[in-house]
Symmetry: C2
Subunit: 313 residues, 2 copies
């Protein structure tokens, strides 16, 4: 049996034909053209699905990973600001065009499902996937199934307050994990350190790359810059704080990181593992500990996970 | 079919015979006598089980709610400081004495299971139960099953940091939810306010009751005392912060409170609901909201939940 997964983004509709093992057999893509309205976007989705289904009569289902809040039970996109959609019946629109009755998930959740079932956490009974990008997204998979709330809403571990009364978050609260562990937060702290320390190597690194991004502090820290090291230390502390919270709530087999910051790999993971361990509840008498890993599927986690949504019971 | 539930406490071994609906048919109790060693405690547990099983041949199973960290898969108590147990094979000890192969759970988790299946959250697909006592305990029930971690460890939402670098918690971390939302934390803040405000009504209320406890600030606040009101406001804010974090992580149908502080009832719940709602992610476009309730089973939640552990698949 094969499954079609669609990763519906603000820019592109990416699709893939995926087998039972989560391997991609064929890919398709179209521009989203969200500005032309939901009907145009759905025409594009239908074109991708039709192209992927061509010549295959063993399609077990179609899944779509969608940004924002979705409700798989009703087949509706509750709110997707990136697309300008509110309470849109995506399932009906796609069914009308293709005949397929699709399964719906949040895009970060779909990626988390893929990493858990066929990626870095394959074989784990429980995993929390945390994406360190512009924001902090993620997904929780327990016993092979995505954790969604009573309305089908995705788990939002990025919007767990760790510094009550702290930095303003995009969600409106203050002190969210996202406001400390996102790439956006790291860039904010890097710029603050640069303003406070005109002699710091951070300026040199930023000039070399033409910009301040999530790598700037890590590169300058590796070259021995004290201000950069302080930024990286604080970032790692806050990341460890939020991940240890998730350990204490879920005690999952695996926590895996994706997104731009995760590209630091072991340079980030080695000190992070030590801190999370020391902050985990009763860690000195625990029989096993949560493994902290890096995601392995890259941007394809989105389409693979969307296809796996269609395979969910 | 009937089930036997045992709530193993530091002082008493409480047991109940429970029917399929979670109703108690008979109760038994023995002193725990933990100081006399695990074998003596197990003799007591066996005596309670035997007394409850007498005259009934339709016993579907026995469950024990135990303080500390337990592992139902192995049947072992990993660590229970209250009992002085570390890596103790409770299942084998009870099986040897009674012939019953018991199911094991953390005591707060067992109570959470009872409240979800037959108590205040009956019928809910997902619930988070939070106990506001000496510490902050709790349990998460998803699709009728307790959330336990990869080692069988209970979820510990009380040890989620909400004020990074804040008040010292009994677990060793700083700023845990427990260090702000427990009765212990409320008493700490009440005493601080009393020390800072010698004119406050808090002193009068404390004298009337002969002690400072979790009610002192609520009573003085109701009589119009400004210092007490400030304590209750801050306490409610911190409680709302932690509960909103749990909403954003689980979006459960119900969050229910138990423990001494929950006895404040609607005086606490009304302002709390409003704050949690305003702090919940995307609450303005959510189709449904988490209900925030008070637990209804009281101290019997422990034995009922233990019996329901035996009914779990």
């Amino acid at each position: 049996m094969y499954y079609i997964g669609i990763d519906l983004g603000g820019t592109n509709i990416k699709g893939a034909l995926v087998n039972e093992a989560g391997e991609i057999l064929r890919e398709e893509s179209r521009p989203t053209r969200a500005a032309l309205g939901a009907e145009t976007v759905c025409d594009g989705i239908a074109a991708v699905i039709t192209a992927l289904a061509e010549g295959t009569d063993a399609i077990g289902g179609v899944g779509i990973g969608c940004p924002g809040t979705v409700d798989d039970a009703s087949g509706r996109v509750v709110y997707a600001p990136n697309l300008g959609w509110r309470d849109f019946d995506l399932r009906a629109a796609v069914k009308e065009r293709t005949g397929f009755a699709l399964r719906l998930g949040n895009d970060a959740n779909a990626a988390a499902l893929a990493e858990t079932l066929v990626g870095c956490a394959k074989g784990a009974q429980s995993a929390v996937i945390v994406t360190l990008g512009t924001g902090v997204g993620g997904g929780v998979v327990l016993g092979g199934r995505l954790l969604t709330g009573c309305t089908g809403a995705a788990s939002e571990p990025g919007h767990m307050v760790i510094h009550s009364g702290g930095e303003k978050c995009a969600c409106g609260r203050e002190g969210c994990f996202e406001a400390y562990a996102s790439a956006t937060a790291l860039i904010r702290e890097t710029k603050r350190a640069m303003a406070a320390q005109p002699q710091s190597l951070l300026h040199t690194v930023a000039k070399e790359n033409g910009t301040v991004d999530g790598r700037t502090a890590f590169v300058a820290a590796q070259r021995g810059d004290a201000a950069a090291r302080a930024v990286v230390e604080r970032y790692t502390d806050d990341l460890a704080c939020g991940l240890a919270n998730l350990v204490n709530i879920f005690f999952p087999e695996v926590i895996a990181l994706s997104g731009g910051i995760a590209e630091q790999g072991e340079a980030l993971l080695v000190p992070l593992r030590e801190r999370v361990r020391s902050l985990s509840y009763a860690s000195d008498c625990a029989a096993r500990h949560t493994r902290i890993e890096r995601c392995t599927l890259g941007y394809r986690a989105g389409v693979i996970g969307a296809a796996l949504l269609a395979r969910q019971p």
